[in-house]
């Protein structure tokens, strides 16, 4: 039984002393197992499968399994040969005609040692279009040992027609626009002060795109209708610049078979819903893969077939809470040679022009130095586009 974490916090407050702290048990046991993950989707294009080996808990790393021969078969007699494009990453371009709802797919992998692995057939169920995505302002903590901060909890409503899949998994990609702390007005280069026009230059606004590493899966299995409201997706706290200007989320809604949902649900329980007062003993998620040569050998991962529906949403900074600001300390320039040439400067004068000048870290002027790109993504809409 899962009980909201509040019980625990409730008890902590009630008796005034509970606590959670990081803990690493001393374990020597380790078994290297083959991991096959991937899915075949309803979208024409490059389909990929990743094959790797598990690593010890004390030294987690991605160990690709190279040199496998990989093929995907459907129940209509077609088979698709995959080729290794990156170490452990096997891909194949599959045309739309072979990707249809109701078709069953399975994978067959032969490792370089000649061991053969297969999955059970997984059926591609129709994915309903993505319904509304919205947020609520909440307080949450990123981990059990950290305090909670305000932010936006994004929710999704599932509203699927009855003949569509009942189980879904969502993959999220976030994009946010952010700004440099200071607009570049001067630049010191080769002993010269270059003046920039005080217009929004190309190093002031940037965009960052990231995959969200979370597992979001839900089902309407216990419900009367194929609908579910307020399915929580990611939480964006005020501790990053994500919400500073405009935040966008691309939601890819994958349909899942019952077997696949059972697998992902178990993974969700074991990696996200732990640490409750009434936990049950952890168990491994049971995938659909097996070793043909040795049925007793556990194989990790899941190979599934999913239809995809997509939706992108934008959220503007209209939040009452304070948003983390990139910290920039201004050094007043006394001697121009005190700083490594070239560097950006701003005027500290009352009129905003002329000496004294100040400078700061490059990231305070150049947004691309913070990891993003200053080329506006094609899908980006400005506030005026809405």
């Amino acid at each position: 039984m899962q009980v909201n974490k509040t019980i625990f916090y409730f008890i902590i407050i009630f008796i005034g002393s509970g606590c959670v702290e990081p803990f690493t048990p001393d374990l020597n046991e380790y078994k290297e197992l083959l991991v096959i993950t991937g899915e075949i989707t309803s979208q024409e294009g490059i389909q990929t499968v990743n094959i790797s080996r598990s690593s010890p808990l004390s030294d987690p790393q991605y160990i690709p399994e190279q040199g496998c021969s990989v093929e995907v078969l459907d129940n209509k007699g077609n088979h698709f040969d995959y080729s290794e494009t990156d170490p452990g990453k096997y891909s194949c371009y599959i045309e739309q005609q072979f990707l249809s709802i109701g078709t069953n797919y399975k994978i067959k992998v032969t490792t370089s040692q000649g061991k053969e692995y297969q999955s059970e057939y997984d059926s591609m169920a129709p994915a309903a279009p993505v319904d509304s995505i919205y947020y609520k302002i909440e307080n949450r903590s990123a981990s059990p040992t950290e305090p909670s901060f305000p932010g936006i909890q994004i929710y999704l409503d599932l509203k699927a027609p009855e003949n569509f899949a009942k189980n879904y998994l969502w993959k999220l990609e976030e994009t946010w626009e952010y700004r440099s702390k200071y607009l570049i007005t001067f630049r010191y280069e080769d002993g010269e002060i270059i003046h920039y026009e005080p217009t929004i230059d190309s190093l002031w606004a940037c965009w960052m795109i990231k995959d969200i590493h979370g597992l979001y899966t839900e089902s309407t299995e216990n419900l009367l209708q194929n609908q579910k409201k307020q399915i929580p997706l990611n939480f964006v706290s005020n501790q990053s610049p994500r919400l500073q200007v405009r935040y966008s989320l691309l939601v890819k809604q994958y349909s899942l078979s019952d077997k696949a949902y059972e697998y992902w649900k178990r993974q969700r329980i074991e990696t996200q819903e732990t640490g409750e007062l009434y936990d049950s003993q952890p168990t491994n998620a049971k995938g659909n893969l097996f070793c043909v040569n040795n049925p007793d050998e556990p194989v990790l991962g899941f190979f599934g077939a999913s239809a995809i529906a997509e939706k992108r949403v934008f959220f503007d900074n209209k939040f009452y809470f304070q948003i983390f600001n990139f910290i920039c300390e201004i050094d007043t320039i006394v001697n121009y040679n005190d700083f490594e040439d070239p560097y950006y400067m701003i005027s500290l004068a009352d009129d905003g022009f002329g000496a004294p000048f100040g400078t700061a870290r490059e990231e305070c002027f150049d947004c691309t130095k913070r990891g993003g790109t200053n080329i506006m993504p094609k899908f980006w809409k400005t506030r005026n586009d809405d």
Partner: protein, 927 residues
């Protein structure tokens, strides 16, 4: 003092001739003549004078007719049953004394010299001669006199049955666990909850020693003629409380056939440190060997490696299905009304059954029969109060208690919005009435209610309550045959609302009713035998409830989890025989049976396939009252005790028990939504065999008793749950469960010191508990069919409980607790899916969370010791987890930003200091 003895000396000299010599022969016809009239007649007709208090003889009548009647015999006949003593002197003065016997003989020095030789003479140095001192000593013991039992006229009988009753002198409350030790026979018996005891003995003269915790030891000569009654009143002893304890326990420890038996009174645990300042018998029970629980602040016991649902809790015979308040931080019985509990964990007597691991028999205070009194207290979380007193003086009494928490008030002061929107409240009430309609019968009526309610940030609501009542009627049909009839009822129900997701929100109500009737008889017709037999039957009626959509937006699919009915019954016969002064055997047979009753719809599955919804074959319908499935079988109970010497013995026992009801719980700790469920068409009732052997040794001079017990328990058909089992998704629980075998074994060592300034115990237990679920089909295996440690397998447990009493007002206690951490499956490897880390767990329960260690301290300060005062109070300062060790409650893993991280959760991560205050009316010694 000297003067008193001189007076005593002279007055007793006057009475120093044999009573019978002064007998008067009378004639007359008295048919149920009131005693007062009888006295008048005698005084008028003979030269006799009666001295007595009218109250004593109010309802006594005299029945005799004829010539030359012996006044002595007549008075004896009339007054003896009322326990009224008398004496006729040579001037034909008849002195009637109530409970005190008039001393009529000079002491016999020889006998008593031994008894008192260790005592120092208080009056030493005041100029007495040795002879005089010896004489005074003799006088003292003469206060313990001969009690005549039975009819002296009848002699030469082979055996006599003595029915006795032991009471506290002041309140007249019966004393439980008082012992009667017959020195000549080196045997004894203990009194039961109503202060009663019975023994079969060859007529003759005996020295009987009466002992009881907190009471002055009493010594009497018993002159046994025939069957008879005896009533002994004991006085409280303030100083030597603990010195008496050990003597009471010694009987059980070495001489009784009972193994794995523990009894604790609330008085004896008064000073033991507790969490949150609440005295709690069941928390202290966890300090006993072989008793554990899965984690701090969680409810439920694991006894000798058994799951928590294998324990039966009775409070005054009322079955209690959930014994916890507030997730398990408190026990749902108020400390003010609980008197003691008895725990059977090894050879469970044949009269009990239905639970594989243990029986907790909790009894409440009986109520003061002579005066009204009150007690109560406050701790940081609760306030509690109780009152008791006579309904009709000396005939009936009552006691009531109430306890409640003010936690809501605390929560409303908190800053966190989620917590401010939470609330938690609990309370419990109990009431008890005891009536003695006549000398041979006793009726007790008890009612109990407990309620818990908590709302957590408007997403979860829990509410649960226990209620129950019992009527206990004890009757002595004749001196060798007693019966007890119990009619009892218990109800447990919970309501829960889960509002985490609006579409999935649901409410669920669960309800179980337990109706039980039992009759137990004791027969004492053979010498050295104690036969008991009886029967009980239980009717279970439970409604697993409806899963209903909650709120307007909920789309939750309603599910009816079903109604269940079952009847459990049993007959038993057991006999405890003293085969030889050194060898006692207790043999019992219990036959239990169980019917699962309709109405029911039973799902049939395709043979040789896993029980799941894909393999449904048909449905069998049963109408109301139909026998859906019957299970039954004998349960043998054997125990024997062989006395090796005066202070040591070995014991052996074998037990079989069947259990027809179990709890659906797939969490490590018991949760407030765990459902009780009956064995049914598919789920077979579990049963267990247990063998135990033990060695018991007392060191009376040092006040130490010790024992070592080993046991092995095999449990069959034990219930385990499939991975990810859900108990609110289907009525067909067989699709969520598997049945397997369990093997639990271990050693328990207990060393207890009950005398001196330092008292306490040291308990060590080693206990293993291993489960194997290896069905024929792949789906019917857990852990690939390999055995694995049970969730509550915690091999090493060490408990040290100590109490140092520096004076009567101040005492200090300390506990030390060590336990092996509970088993857990740890991740042993990491793998990646879409750049996110996932873990692969080890085989089931292969590892353990860190070991548990804790030290507690408490200081108990009593109010002043004046005897004349209105109320007495005491303060208790508790420091729980003195070292502040962050004991792991659980270890868990979570993925954050694609990285897996390990955490340890502790409930009490720092010392918890509480101050509580308790009071009672009366003085320090008041009960």
């Amino acid at each position: 003092m000297y003067k008193i003895f001189i007076i005593l000396f002279f007055s007793s000299f006057m009475f120093s001739t044999q009573a019978q010599e002064n007998d008067i022969l009378i004639s007359g016809n008295f048919i149920n003549e009131p005693f007062l009239n009888f006295v008048q007649t005698i005084e008028n007709s003979y030269d006799a004078h009666f001295y007595f208090n009218k109250d004593w003889v109010e309802d006594i009548t005299v029945k005799a007719s004829g010539n030359k009647l012996s006044l002595f015999s007549l008075l004896k006949e009339s007054l003896d049953p009322k326990d009224i003593h008398f004496f006729i002197d040579k001037n034909h003065n008849v002195f009637i004394t109530n409970t005190n016997t008039v001393i009529t003989r000079l002491p016999d020095y020889k006998i008593y010299r031994n008894i008192f030789e260790e005592n120092t003479d208080e009056d030493e140095g005041n100029g007495l001669t040795t002879t005089e001192k010896a004489y005074i000593k003799g006088r003292k013991t003469r206060q313990a006199t001969t009690i005549n039992i039975g009819n002296p006229q009848v002699s030469g009988g082979k055996k006599a049955i003595i029915n006795g009753k032991i009471r506290e002198k002041e309140s007249k409350e019966p004393l439980l666990g008082a012992t009667v030790y017959i020195e000549e026979m080196q045997t004894g018996v203990a009194s039961d909850i109503d202060g009663q005891f019975n023994m079969v003995i060859t007529p003759g003269r005996y020295t009987a020693v009466f002992r009881c915790l907190g009471m002055k030891e009493e010594q009497y000569f018993l002159q046994v003629y025939t069957n008879g009654t005896i009533e002994v009143e004991m006085e409280k002893e303030l100083i030597a409380i603990n010195e008496v304890t050990i003597k009471a326990d010694r009987y059980h420890n070495v001489r009784g056939t009972q193994m794995g038996y523990e009894r604790l009174t609330i008085k004896s645990i008064k000073e033991i440190p507790v969490v949150m300042g609440e005295r709690d018998l069941l928390k202290v029970a966890q300090m006993l060997p072989g008793v554990q629980n899965v984690g701090e602040g969680s409810s439920g016991f694991n006894i000798r490696g058994s799951s928590a649902d294998q324990n039966m809790f009775y409070i005054n015979k009322v079955p209690v299905y959930n014994t916890s308040h507030l997730f398990g931080f408190f026990t749902s019985f108020s400390p003010d009304i609980v008197n003691d509990f008895t725990l059977f964990k090894s050879n469970i007597p044949a009269k009990y059954g239905g639970r594989l691991a243990s029986v907790f028999d909790i009894t409440t205070r009986q109520g003061n029969k002579t005066q009204y009194t009150m007690r109560g207290g406050i701790s940081p979380v609760t306030g509690h109060i109780a009152a008791e007193g006579p309904l009709i003086k000396d005939k009936s009494s009552f006691s009531v208690s109430a306890r409640s928490t003010y936690s809501d008030w605390i929560l409303s002061k908190l800053k966190d919005a989620d917590l401010r929107n939470s609330n938690a409240a609990f309370y419990d009430l109990a009431a008890n009435v005891k009536i003695e309609p006549g000398p041979y019968s006793l009726v007790k009526v008890f009612g109990y209610y407990s309620h818990d309610q908590f709302t957590l940030s408007s997403t979860h609501t829990y509410e649960y309550s226990n209620s129950g009542g019992s009527i206990i009627w004890r009757q002595r049909f004749n001196p060798s045959f007693f019966g007890e009839f119990v009619s009892t009822f218990g109800n447990y129900n919970f309501n829960t609302v889960n509002n985490v997701n609006v579409s999935e929100a649901y409410s669920h109500s669960y309800n179980i009713n337990h109706y039980e009737f039992r009759s137990d008889f004791t027969l004492l017709i053979f010498k050295n035998q104690n036969i008991s037999f009886g029967a009980n039957s239980i009717y279970y009626n439970l409604n697993r409830g409806y899963i209903k959509p909650y709120g307007l937006e909920s789309l939750r699919m309603p599910i009816d989890l079903g109604v269940e009915n079952g009847i459990e019954g049993a007959f038993y016969l057991s006999d405890e025989i003293i085969l030889h002064p050194k060898l006692t055997v207790n043999g019992g047979l219990r036959y239990s049976f169980y019917n699962y009753l309709g109405p029911a719809a039973v799902t049939g599955y395709i043979p040789n396939s896993p029980l799941n919804e894909n393999n449904i074959l048909d449905t069998l319908y049963f109408s109301k009252g139909d026998l859906v499935k019957t299970y039954s079988g004998p349960e043998f109970r054997v125990a024997l005790n062989y006395l090796l010497g005066k202070n040591n013995s070995i014991k052996f026992s074998y037990n079989r028990i069947r259990q027809y009801i179990f709890m659906l719980s797939n969490t490590v700790a018991l949760s407030p939504t765990d459902q009780w469920k009956l064995s049914d068409y598919h789920i077979r009732p579990p049963y267990a065999d247990q063998v135990s052997a033990g060695y018991y040794h007392d060191f009376p001079n040092k006040g130490i008793s010790s024992s070592v017990e080993v046991y092995n328990k095999w449990i069959y058909n034990v219930l385990e749950y499939k991975d990810g089992a859900s108990f609110i998704s289907t009525e067909s629980i067989e699709t969520q469960t598997l049945q397997g075998d369990q093997n639990a074994y271990g050693v328990e060592v207990m060393i207890k010191k009950n005398t001196g300034k330092l008292t306490g115990w040291l308990a060590y237990s080693y206990s293993k508990s291993v489960i194997t679920v290896n069905g024929p089909l792949i789906e019917e295996k857990i852990n690939f069919g390999n055995s694995y440690p049970a969730n509550y397998d915690r091999p090493h447990g060490l408990n040290l409980v100590t109490n140092i009493r520096s004076n009567r007002r101040l005492s200090m206690s300390a506990n030390l607790v060590y336990n092996t951490g509970r088993p857990i499956s740890y991740p042993v490897s990491v793998y990646y899916i879409n750049d996110v880390e996932y873990v692969n767990y080890s085989s089931r329960n292969k590892y353990r969370i860190p070991d548990y260690f804790r030290i507690d301290l408490s200081i108990n300060l009593e109010g002043n010791l004046k005897s004349e005062k209105l109320a007495h109070s005491y303060w208790m300062l508790n420091i729980y987890n003195l070292t502040g060790r962050k004991n792991a409650y659980s270890v868990f893993y979570q993925t954050e930003n694609g990285k897996i991280k390990g955490y340890k959760m502790s409930i009490f991560g720092q010392p918890l200091i509480t101050l509580s205050w308790n009071f009672k009316l009366g003085n320090y010694a008041s009960e």
